[in-house]
């Protein structure tokens, strides 16, 4: 696939340097495409100005779906489709339905969250990930800057990165 995407990569060794570099680079008016790190860096999401995730809303909605599905299923099955006397209780009685309802709520919210996350992050089978630098899975933090969204030249951006503590500045084209 020939889509001309050109990136400048800053390679950082230390997460503290990286955190300061993020704000320095942003102060210069450079838009950061993404930062890849081998472990979660506390404060990085705030420094990058990420919007709060809306995943919990999805979780709540999936959970509610599970709750109502479970209740509808049990009420229909045990109350109308095949009524059975269990322990002398009413056909439709809430307490015995709670465990199944709980389980389905948890199941659907968990599966739904995973599915939502994968769809939003564009993770699917046979999808080959765009690897900027394999060392971001080992011991380096990689700051990727998309040249298309920035007016500054490649050299200027590289200089800013170097200035803010990057060990290396590399190019990457997809």
């Amino acid at each position: 696939m020939e889509s001309n995407k050109n990136f400048v990569l800053g390679v950082f060794d230390d997460e503290d340097v990286l955190l300061h570099a993020v704000s320095k680079v942003k102060d210069k008016g450079i838009k950061i495409h993404e930062v890849y790190s081998p472990f979660p860096v506390h404060g990085l999401d705030e420094a990058l100005g990420y919007k709060k995730t809306r995943l919990p809303i999805a979780a709540f909605l999936f959970g509610m779906t599970g709750t109502s599905l479970a209740l509808i299923m049990q009420i229909w099955m045990l109350g109308y489709d095949w009524p059975m006397i269990i322990g002398g209780k009413n056909f439709v009685s809430l307490p015995p339905f709670i465990p199944v309802t709980f389980e389905l709520t948890v199941l659907l919210s968990a599966l739904g969250m995973v599915a939502t996350f994968m769809i939003v992050s564009d993770m699917k089978p046979y999808k080959w990930p765009q690897q900027f630098d394999l060392r971001s899975t080992d011991d380096k933090h990689i700051m990727a800057i998309d040249l298309a969204t920035n007016k500054m030249s490649k050299q200027d951006i590289g200089a800013v990165l170097k200035d803010s503590g990057a060990q290396e500045v590399n190019d990457k084209n997809f």
Partner: protein, 449 residues
């Protein structure tokens, strides 16, 4: 490190607490007068007939299968208003004992799990622990005052051949009266009570000593010692809190038993204690204190309240569902008295709304747990809700159909709350508000979630 902070127990705060206590006393006296006057019309006869029918009713559902005959004539008991006072005193003392002991339990958990995040707030639960000796003395004194009315099993005639003989209770008598004769002085029961409070207080003093010595000496030696003490205490607490729940709460409904009761009482105590810690931390933060604490620590406290509200519900439901499904009369009697009897039905459902539905929905989002304004709404709901929970555990078993929730109960709860807050805030003002040389202070300052 952090600047030294000291909580000052200001006269205004003392005045507010005094007003709370005074209003409580006024309400209590008013309630007693009202109850005495309303009861006088029917007189003794009404009360005894009432209690007779109640016993018959409960035995019909409960122990009738065992061939137990209801015989209540010999239990005259106190007038209804006095029984209400006794029941309420006992319920409040068990409830606030829990708040005290949970303070120590929280501290012990933090040490045993080597938690760093909680360092800025750890002095709040420690201050709560100062209630332990007071509640211990109260519990012992109260027990001798209220035993004839609150604890059915203390009556002597249940254990001797005759009209009042109760085979079921006689079978359980060793648990109360060992090594003495059944129906006499319940030595085992009273001994347990004394030993539990003594052990709790002892560990409280030891752990507190290490925490305060650390302020002066620094180093990690005190922390290590407090950790070992906490580990031992947790083992003791696991056993003692469970037995305390059977003794002080479950033995009121003497014929009834539930293997969940130890957990149930603990869960209720624990989430109330967490809510109180969170609430006090929120108030101190608003007063400009606890500078080391930020939204991240509040978030953790809020998660605690949220999680253990659900835990309590889980325990509540586990107890309810099994009894509901098995449908054995000697077990269902507990819920029958609590749901079908007119004064308790609404409390039974209010209990679930206050302790599960509201905290669950209100604290669900991340923002709710991080903001003082929402925590200040939810924590009082949880505290009041679990007071209802203890009302629901204690009162129906004693009062049967005579029970009510009026000025007596509310007044006494306010008096207890005022006394507890006074002891706690007074203790909080005596020691530095934040540990000075805690080895994990740095971790707590950088806590980020």
């Amino acid at each position: 490190m952090v600047a030294e902070e000291k909580y000052e127990f200001k006269p205004e705060a003392k005045k507010k607490i005094a007003i709370l206590g005074a209003v409580g006393i006024v309400l209590f006296i008013l309630g007693v007068f009202m109850a005495m006057n309303s009861g006088s019309g029917h007189g003794e006869e009404h009360a005894s007939v009432q209690s007779l029918t109640n016993l018959v009713a409960s035995n019909d559902q409960g122990a009738a299968a065992e061939g137990h005959e209801a015989t209540a004539e010999e239990h005259h008991g106190s007038p209804v208003w006095l029984k209400r006072v006794y029941t309420s005193l006992w319920q409040n003392n068990v409830f606030f004992t829990g708040l005290g002991i949970i303070g120590l339990f929280f501290v012990a958990i933090q040490y045993a799990s080597q938690a760093g995040w909680s360092v800025p707030v750890k002095r709040i639960p420690l201050a709560m622990g100062h209630w332990i000796p007071i509640s211990g003395v109260l519990m012992l004194v109260l027990w001798f005052v209220v035993k004839a009315d609150v604890f059915h099993w203390t009556h002597h005639d249940l254990y001797v051949e005759g009209a009042g003989y109760d085979a079921i209770l006689d079978g359980k008598s060793g648990y109360f009266f060992w090594p003495l004769e059944a129906g006499g002085f319940p030595l085992f029961f009273v001994l347990r009570m004394v030993i539990f409070f003594a052990l709790w207080y002892l560990f409280f003093i030891w752990i507190k000593k290490e925490m305060l010595a650390e302020d002066v000496n620094g180093g990690t030696a005190h922390w290590t010692k407090a950790r070992s003490l906490s580990a031992v205490f947790l083992v003791i607490f696991a056993v003692s809190s469970s037995i305390a729940a059977w003794d002080w709460v479950m033995s009121i409904d003497t014929h009834w038993f539930s293997t969940m009761m130890g957990w149930y009482v603990f869960a209720s105590w624990w989430v109330t204690g967490l809510a109180l810690i969170t609430l006090v931390a929120a108030y101190l933060k608003e007063a400009g204190l606890l500078k080391a604490m930020n939204a991240n620590h509040l978030h953790d406290l809020g998660k605690f309240v949220f999680a253990f509200s659900i835990f309590w519900t889980y325990i509540w439901f586990s107890q309810f569902l099994l009894i509901y499904y098995a449908n054995i009369p000697e077990e269902t009697v507990y819920f029958v008295t609590r749901i079908n009897n007119s004064p308790y039905g609404w409390i039974f459902y209010t209990n679930i709304i206050l302790n599960f539905v509201l905290p669950f929905l209100l604290l669900m989002t991340r923002d709710a747990k991080r903001h003082i304004s929402m925590l200040k709404v939810v924590c009082p709901i949880v505290i009041v809700g679990h007071w209802f929970d203890f009302y629901n555990m204690v009162t129906p078993g004693v009062m049967q159909k005579d029970g009510s929730l009026g000025f007596i109960e509310i007044g006494l709860a306010m008096v207890f709350m005022a006394a507890f807050l006074f002891v706690m805030l007074n203790a909080l003002s005596k020691a530095p508000l934040v540990a000075k040389n805690h080895p994990m202070m740095e971790e707590a300052l950088n806590h980020h979630i």
